[in-house]
Symmetry: C2
Subunit: 214 residues, 2 copies
């Protein structure tokens, strides 16, 4: 299936790409420059044919008998994932989860800069975490006028999630990363990408596997 | 595909079950007792035929023309997911993420009780969060002798993740919920279920979708 010049890439493949990205980075860090689909499959718990299929979606960088060039593959997957594009993000809701996120190296490695922190609690507003002082959410509008913010990270309580999302969408974010455990849907802003993180779903998958084990 | 008396349920279906669980709970909370596969599909962003297929895996609780009995379906999915089984969990690593997890209603709703908190930092050990006082990880062995702990939640720094996992597996946990962003593999404990939470993967999926939108 072709869409213009670009190959159509299924959602399932896209979901696996960040895993390839992580494994390939680990290989690079360990100085490994080539890897066969068989070795990669053992590391990732996928079949070799699945891996060949996935990577063929991006033009098949593998050479029969030589395996994959790790650095090249890492670069191509980075490009597909948009890692080379730089985005600013803000975190709204500086409770424990918000604070936990501020300190992770996760953002920088993926081309994302946390450029603002927002909360509503007078005890939290004005405090400094990392490079930033927490601003009041009433200052969001002014912040968006001065800064190019692409991503809104929502770590507010569940009850505040929908209004926070609406607010950020109206201010012009391109995407929301939502931790509130409320499934956010923005009917008035169909172009805003929403990534809902449901930790509870992951927990349930774990307890299912445990109960199956007896 | 049958395995003994039980129908084989694919991993992909299992991954979708917690979402059904969430949506059905929401319907119940709103007093909705019946729903058609068409309505459910619109809510969940899946096709109606996908939903019929998924739910048929568990014996097809739907009646042509009548839709699904929400309460019954919720109960059956709860059973399959093992929500009715009760498990104790401990959290190892009481930094911001550990603290954020303590306070969520996520556990109770899924039959899981957080029964112990552990850390290594002298400033944290002895402090009380919710119902529990943080114990030193040196006390893990004694704790496991006195308590039936099924799940270990790992929120330690990346560098400590592997040793923490080995430690918990040796003490007898049935499953690990790993937030450390290090992919944990336990070759010596093949029966321990590992659920690695990779928030970075979710973030990358978001930035991919944003970059595709242009």
């Amino acid at each position: 299936m072709e869409q213009g010049n670009k190959k159509y890439i299924s959602k399932a493949v896209i979901r696996r790409l960040p895993r390839y990205f992580r494994y390939l980075r680990e290989l690079l860090n360990n100085g490994i420059m080539r890897i066969s689909s068989k070795e990669l499959s053992q590391k990732m718990g996928l079949t070799a044919s699945q891996i060949r299929q996935d990577l063929n979606c991006f033009g098949g960088f593998g050479q029969q008998g030589y395996g994959y060039n790790v650095k090249y593959l890492y670069g191509e997957i980075s490009k597909i994932l948009g890692v080379e594009k730089k985005y600013n993000a803000i975190i709204v809701g500086i409770g424990n989860l918000g604070k936990a996120l501020i300190n992770t190296p996760m953002f920088e490695r993926r081309g994302i800069t946390v450029s603002g922190l927002f909360d509503i609690d007078p005890e939290t507003v004005g405090k400094t975490f990392g490079k930033h002082t927490v601003l009041h959410i009433n200052d969001l509008k002014e912040f968006f006028e001065k800064n190019d913010v692409a991503i809104g990270i929502i770590t507010v309580p569940r009850t505040e999630a929908a209004s926070t999302a609406e607010n950020l969408a109206a201010l012009g974010v391109k995407g929301l990363w939502n931790f509130s455990n409320a499934e956010i849907m923005l009917e008035n802003y169909p172009d805003v990408i929403i990534e809902n993180v449901h930790l509870g779903d992951s927990l349930m998958a774990l307890s299912y596997e445990i109960s199956k084990n007896g």
